[in-house]
Amino acid sequence: MNWWLIALAVVVIVLFAWYLSTTAGRLDRLHRRIETSTFALDAQLLRRSSIAIELSVAEVLDPASSELIAETAHDARQSIDGDVLQRIAAESALSEVLMQALDDVDEVNLLREDPLAADLLDELSSSIRRVELCRRFLNDAVLACSAIHEHRLVRWFRLAGHTPVPTTWEMDDRQPQGLGFTES
């Protein structure tokens, strides 16, 4: 009769091990998703700041806006190697300056009469949209991942290894009013 108990224990252990290994698998996959999303966001932020710099030197905006955009875009590019929080602050600052500079639809439409400016503004708008998408997808992955991280069993059995609990990327990524449609 003891055999029954042993068999039961074996089944429980196997099920438990299966549970742990699939959870570890989920975690691993989410970490990879976070990695690729971070990579994508990185690329889009770089693209955004380079378009911003192009816009500032193209002499389509007033000198004050151009100067501010150039400076914040430059800061944003510099911050890449630094601390994440500093980087988020720098990128948000760029968003804010762009939002100030391009806040009026009619004014921006006037600028668009110049084909070069229109091209640059379209590209800027599309890269801002892509930053917004990348950030949202990254944060989605981060939230799903940290939910698993917090699970008791995951912590007890150290399923996440030494990977830190990921954090969401909170920055201002609104589209400037003048560039058109944004989701509410």
């Binding site: 699939t22 698998g25 989920r26 996959r29 989410l30 998703r33 990695e35 690729t36 999303s37 990579f39 994508a40 966001l41 690329a43 889009q44 599309s126 949209r129 892509r130 917004e132 998408l133 990348c134 949202r136 997808f137 944060n139 989605d140 992955a141 939230l143 799903a144 939910a147 449609f181 989701e183």
Partner: protein
């Protein structure tokens, strides 16, 4: 692209997938569609056959889906052979090919939520496999606020909102509807006749007042339902001013919209998007709609079409009379409408979808078979062969 519902049967998700694929192909992208097919021969060059669909009760109605071991094997083979840069599944929580593809694939996966679905909560919390599948989606899209709320509440996380597209070109200049010849005084209603939420009764209640102000007015009613019932219910004095067109094809719908002077949408609720308003604007018809939030959004709060207080026949009558008497105002609305409708053109919508694709494929990773599921996969393909 994966459509979980049978390709032989017309439906919202199916036409969304077909239109999106057509637009992407036009831009030089390679798109392969995987969908269940009832009749293998007829549509085989349009889609990859994902197996025979089975009618099941799902989410409050009968859906034609396919699932099971053979479908899983089919999905796996499709992923293996396709060597895709990305897969885009539609309605990922429906128990069909979309869910299966997510399960067997690894890499960039985009999913679009179409409808609100009260069952997915059970699915996500009870079924661990389904939950794992949801975690594999790198980019989530919702077609409406409702669909997005469903997703947020049941699966967690967030989604980007990309509205349904309308093939604006298909509605521009479709020709006149043969049964509609009352230019200048034609009203149109579209929708199921016996569905109270579509609001036909509100419009019929408003008719006497409209007829009193404009004796030439004629209301055309297009949509499925018991025509005799409606005929019998109508007051005799309005019967001569109403023509029932019955169920119309897509082509006839475009013609009816094009022939009408004012399209009236008296819907009383439960509209998440209002695609028909966009179709009306694309056809160049002035729109008069109930002030539901979804309609107000589509009509830019009344700039691209008139709004009237919901379920108020008197207000509807006043607005309709004013519009019928003022061709210039109608023209202004039509102009504003065709401007507004550009936002919903597939061309613009596809730009957004491509932006999503870019954001999930930036690392250059491709879609591969998910090896983690392989033990299960071997098991299922073995069983599937054994069962044949």
């Amino acid at each position: 692209m994966v459509c979980p519902y049978a390709w032989d049967v017309p439906g919202g998700v199916r036409s969304h997938v077909a239109d999106l694929a057509a637009e992407l192909r036009e831009r030089g992208h390679f798109v392969d569609i995987l969908a269940p097919l009832d009749d293998d021969s007829a549509l085989a060059d349009e889609v990859t056959n994902g197996g025979k669909p089975i009618a099941v009760r799902y989410n409050g109605s009968v859906a034609r889906l396919n699932f099971g071991l053979r479908a899983t094997r089919q999905a796996r083979r499709w992923i293996q052979n396709g060597n895709f840069d990305l897969i885009h599944v539609h309605e990922p929580v429906a128990p069909g090919l979309s869910l299966l593809c997510i399960w067997v694939a690894d890499g960039p996966i985009v999913a679009t939520w179409h409808s609100s679905n009260p069952h997915s909560r059970i699915l996500a919390s009870v079924n661990r496999l389904a939950q794992t599948a949801m975690e594999k989606i790198s980019g989530r899209i919702a077609v409406s606020e409702d669909a997005r709320r469903t997703l947020v509440a049941h699966v967690g996380g967030d989604a980007v909102l990309i509205p349904n597209g309308v093939r604006v070109q298909a509605f521009a200049h479709p020709g006149f509807h043969p049964a509609m010849n009352n230019p200048g005084h034609s009203l149109l209603f579209l929708g199921r006749l016996d569905e109270p939420r579509k609001g036909l009764s509100v419009l019929l209640e408003a008719m006497p007042a409209i007829i009193a102000a404009d004796p030439h007015v004629h209301l055309y009613v297009a949509g499925p339902g018991d025509l005799e019932d409606i005929q019998d219910d109508m007051a005799p004095e309005i019967r001569d001013h109403v023509t029932l067109l019955g169920l119309v094809t897509e082509q006839e719908k475009a013609q009816a919209l094009y022939s009408a002077d004012v399209y009236v949408a008296p819907n009383t609720g439960a509209e998440s998007f209002g695609i028909v308003l966009i179709e009306a604007m694309a056809a160049g018809t002035a729109v008069l709609a109930a002030d539901l939030p979804a309609f107000a959004r589509v009509l830019s709060n009344g700039r691209a079409g008139r709004l009237f207080p919901n379920e108020d026949p008197q207000a509807l009558a006043d607005a309709a009379v004013a519009l019928l008497a003022d061709p210039q105002e109608r023209q202004r609305l039509v102009a504003a409408g065709s401007e507004r409708v550009r936002r919903f053109d597939w061309g613009v919508v596809v730009d957004d979808v491509l932006a999503v694709y870019d954001s999930v494929t930036a690392s250059g990773e491709r879609v591969t078979e998910d090896l983690r599921g392989q033990i299960m996969g071997r098991f299922s393909s073995g069983l599937g062969q054994g069962g044949r």
